[in-house]
């Protein structure tokens, strides 16, 4: 089951807010749909991301998919591990497979995202 300590988007990203740091990744459902992930492209530290705008790319063997930011803010950390080992996203999408950390410019944006139950209905329904 998807962890309930974070919020979800309809495009299958998750965001976990701890203090003033938001960690972002893709869901278990997303990595399963993609299949083997072979490439992840992430923004640089210092880049701005905007809610619902593309912030990077994830590629499987057969396709490339945009990553959409669940919130707006400034990128303060990028997970080099997933860039070097994209399979981490398949293996541990909610833990070691995290992608970027963001300082949110408007934490209220998270209110319009889905909780775990709503996300489960979104993918199951």
């Amino acid at each position: 089951m998807d962890p309930d300590d974070r919020k979800y988007t309809e495009e299958h990203e998750w965001v976990q807010l701890t203090g003033d740091v938001a960690t972002v990744g893709i869901t278990r459902y997303a990595q399963d749909q993609l299949g083997d992930i072979v490439y992840v492209e992430l923004p640089k530290v210092g880049a701005r991301v905007e809610q619902s705008q593309a912030f990077g790319v994830v590629e499987s063997v057969k396709t490339a998919s945009d990553l959409y930011a669940p919130l707006s803010g400034e990128v303060i950390e990028v997970n080099r591990e997933v860039v070097d080992h994209p399979e981490l996203v398949n293996q541990d999408p909610y833990g070691a497979g995290w992608m970027i950390k963001v300082r949110p410019s408007n934490p209220g944006e998270l209110d319009r995202l889905l909780d775990a139950a709503a996300y489960a209905r979104h993918v199951g329904g």
């Binding site: 083997d36 072979v38 490439y39 790319v57 063997v61 490339a64």
Partner: protein, 383 residues
């Protein structure tokens, strides 16, 4: 003769193994007009299985058409570019059908079975090619029947270094004696069929043709029996053939390309006599200005995909025909048409990926050496 009624799901034709694929957890996608498995659990795991041991492929979507009758050989000689007169009983040859302009209509494997020929077409081209054969036969007054058996017979591939032992366990043909690009009739788990030593991976392997009704049991035996060969989908089929430097219709070859551009000139036998496209191909062979197909390997960390622009010196010089990760090489590879002056091994290119240039260099194909056995017991064929 009308093709057999082919069952459908969600409006798309399915093979006799559809229920098996679903039961085994395959992700089904549309390909060539059919609903086919693209993967079971993992394209990378399926690819690795074939290179390290063996994998099983459902190939029953491919067009299988028999050409029979007094003028069967004459029809094939006229429609296809390779010399079918040199094809002896029990052997197969790779060939192409070209249009009058020398563009490629399809690539095929032709098996000679006594007085008749079995031609295997790409799934997407089957209907068009059957009509083409019938049209050419009528125009030339050939006494030949074109019998599309696609719906009645299944085809299962077993590819990989361990495939001989695995296939030997299910058929009564002595495989130690079966050469590459040869075929023999025999019994496959008691059901009459054809065993061919052909494939699309660069590995030793076999393609088994048998009645549709007998296919599910064979599939279960191969993938769940003692041998437990991993079932492999179209995703792995594509990464394997790309590593092997083999063209895919609609990517490296189509009606806008001549065989010579794709490096397939050796398949065209201009001296054999009259055939469709001969005059155009004679001219095409002399052209030095047309784009040429090359293999490339990415130097920057990016994946090239079909349709991506190729640049050199800041200008457009070509287009990617296929691209993907190479699980065996742990690099990203691809093929592209480029200006002939830039086709030399070592040439630096830039592939435009999402608006930014990514460095690549031309490398020889195949990317991964073939290990098909010309004569069983002989050293693997190089190149």
């Amino acid at each position: 003769m009308a093709a057999a009624q082919i069952p459908t799901r969600n409006g798309l034709p399915v093979t006799p193994l559809y229920d098996e694929h679903v039961r085994q957890g395959a992700r089904m996608v549309e390909f060539g007009g059919w609903l086919m498995p693209v993967q079971y659990q993992s394209i990378l795991a399926e690819h690795d299985a074939v290179r390290s041991r063996a994998g099983a492929f459902d190939l029953s979507h491919m067009g299988r058409v028999f050409i029979r009758g007094r003028d069967a050989m004459a029809l094939a000689q006229y429609v296809f570019v390779n010399d079918v007169e040199r094809l002896t009983d029990g052997r197969a040859q790779y060939s192409l059908a070209c249009n009058e302009q020398g563009g490629v209509l399809d690539d095929v494997i032709i098996y000679r079975l006594g007085g008749e020929l079995l031609v295997v077409f790409n799934a997407a081209n089957r209907r068009r090619m059957v009509a083409w054969l019938e049209q050419q036969a009528a125009q030339r007054g050939y006494s030949a029947a074109v019998d599309d058996q696609t719906g009645r017979i299944a085809m299962i591939g077993v590819q990989g270094p361990a495939s001989e032992g695995i296939v030997q366990a299910v058929c009564d043909v002595d495989l130690a004696d079966l050469e590459y690009y040869a075929s023999r009739r025999g019994n496959i788990l008691g059901s009459p069929g054809l065993i061919a030593r052909t494939g699309y991976t660069g590995e030793d392997g076999f393609e088994l043709v048998l009645d549709a009704a007998a296919a599910p049991q064979l599939w279960r035996n191969l993938t769940e029996g003692e041998a437990a060969v991993r079932p492999c989908g179209l995703g792995a089929r594509d990464t394997l053939r790309l590593e092997a430097g083999m063209p895919l219709y609609g990517h490296e070859i189509d009606e806008s390309t001549t065989p010579y551009q794709a490096g397939l000139g050796r398949v065209v036998k201009l001296a054999k006599g009259e055939f469709v496209g001969r005059a155009a191909l004679e001219q095409a062979r002399e052209r030095t200005d047309l784009p040429r197909l090359v293999g490339f390997r990415m130097l920057d960390n990016a994946i090239a995909r079909q349709g991506f622009e190729v640049q050199a010196g800041g200008r457009t010089v070509g287009r990617v025909t296929s691209g993907s990760p190479s699980p065996t090489l742990k690099a990203n590879i691809g093929m592209a048409y480029v200006e002939p002056a830039l086709a030399a091994v070592g040439q630096r290119l830039e592939i435009m990926v999402r608006g930014r240039p990514a460095a690549a260099e031309v490398v020889p194909v195949p990317f991964v050496p073939h290990r098909t056995k010309k004569r069983p017991g002989a050293a693997p064929k190089q190149g």
